[in-house]
C-alpha cells in the first residue's frame, strides 16, 4: 500500500498554493518548476483538484490557480480522498451485494473495523495547511517534498 504520485504531487501543488494564498493566481509552470513535476501531468491533477472544489482557476495571461478556501479550512483527509480515492479494504465492505456470503461473513466485519479505524486516523491526522505552510516557511529550505 503506497501513495500514488497523484496524491504526492497534488499535495505538493496544494501546499504551494497555500503558501501563496492572498497573492492572486499562481501559474502551474511555476509550481511545476519549483516542485519538479511535468507541467502537462500537473495540469491533469489540477483538473481533479478543481472539480473536487479545492482550487479555482483563472484562464489566460496572468491566470493560474488559487485555493478555493482559506488554507486553514482545507484538510489533509479531503485532499487524500479526492486524489487517492476512498480507502477500501474489500469490495464487500461498501457493497454487500458483491459477495453472496456477506450477510454472515465474519471477516467482513473485521475488515469493516479496520477500514473505519484507518478512516478515523486520517480524519484525526487532518492538519490545517496553514500550519504546514507556516512551518515550511520557518524552515530554511522551505521544503515540503512529498
Amino acid at each position: 500500500m503506497k501513495l500514488s504520485t497523484r496524491t504526492r504531487y497534488g499535495f505538493r501543488a496544494i501546499m504551494e498554493l497555500a503558501e501563496d494564498y492572498g497573492h492572486g493566481p499562481l501559474q502551474l509552470n511555476v509550481i511545476a518548476k519549483r516542485q519538479d513535476i511535468s507541467l502537462k501531468y500537473l495540469e491533469q491533477l489540477m483538473a481533479v483538484l478543481k472539480s473536487a472544489g479545492f482550487v479555482r482557476s483563472v484562464r489566460g495571461a496572468k491566470g493560474g490557480y488559487i485555493l478555493a478556501k482559506a488554507p486553514n479550512q482545507i484538510k489533509l483527509s479531503d485532499i487524500f480522498n479526492a486524489l487517492e480515492g476512498p480507502i477500501v479494504t474489500v469490495e464487500c465492505v461498501g457493497d454487500k451485494s458483491q459477495c453472496s456470503r456477506a450477510v454472515d461473513c465474519v471477516t467482513r466485519e473485521l475488515w469493516m473495523q479496520v477500514q473505519d479505524a484507518i478512516e478515523k486516523v486520517l480524519e484525526l491526522m487532518t492538519l490545517h495547511l496553514q500550519e504546514l505552510a507556516d512551518k515550511a516557511q520557518k524552515s530554511k529550505m522551505s521544503s515540503y517534498q512529498i
Copy 2:
C-alpha cells in the same frame, strides 16, 4: 487504496488451515475448491506464506499445508505484512536518502505520523484466528469470504 487479491485469498487460505488445525495437512486443491481460487495461483501465495513462516508444507501424496503456529498465535497484522507488504505512505518516510529535502521536510513529518497511526491500528485490530474460526463455525454458512 485497496487490498490485493493476494491478501484476500491468502487470508482465506489461512482461515481454512486454522479451522482444520490439528487434523494433519490440508491439500491446496481442497482449499482452492472451497474458496473458489485458482489452484496454481494459490500455490504461489502459499509459497509466500510459507517463507514468512506461517505455514509448513508436506510434500507428496497425503501431503498439504499445516499452520506453523497454533491459530491463536497468528495475528492479522502479521499476515497483512507478509502478503500486502509494509504500509508505506511515501518512500522518504522509510529512507531519508530518497529525497534531498527530507531533513527539513515538514510534510515528511506529517506522513510519518499518518503511517505510524495506521500501523498502530492494524496492530490493535490484530484478531486471533481462533476467534474468527470459532465465529465462522458457529455461523450456519461457515463463511468467511474476504
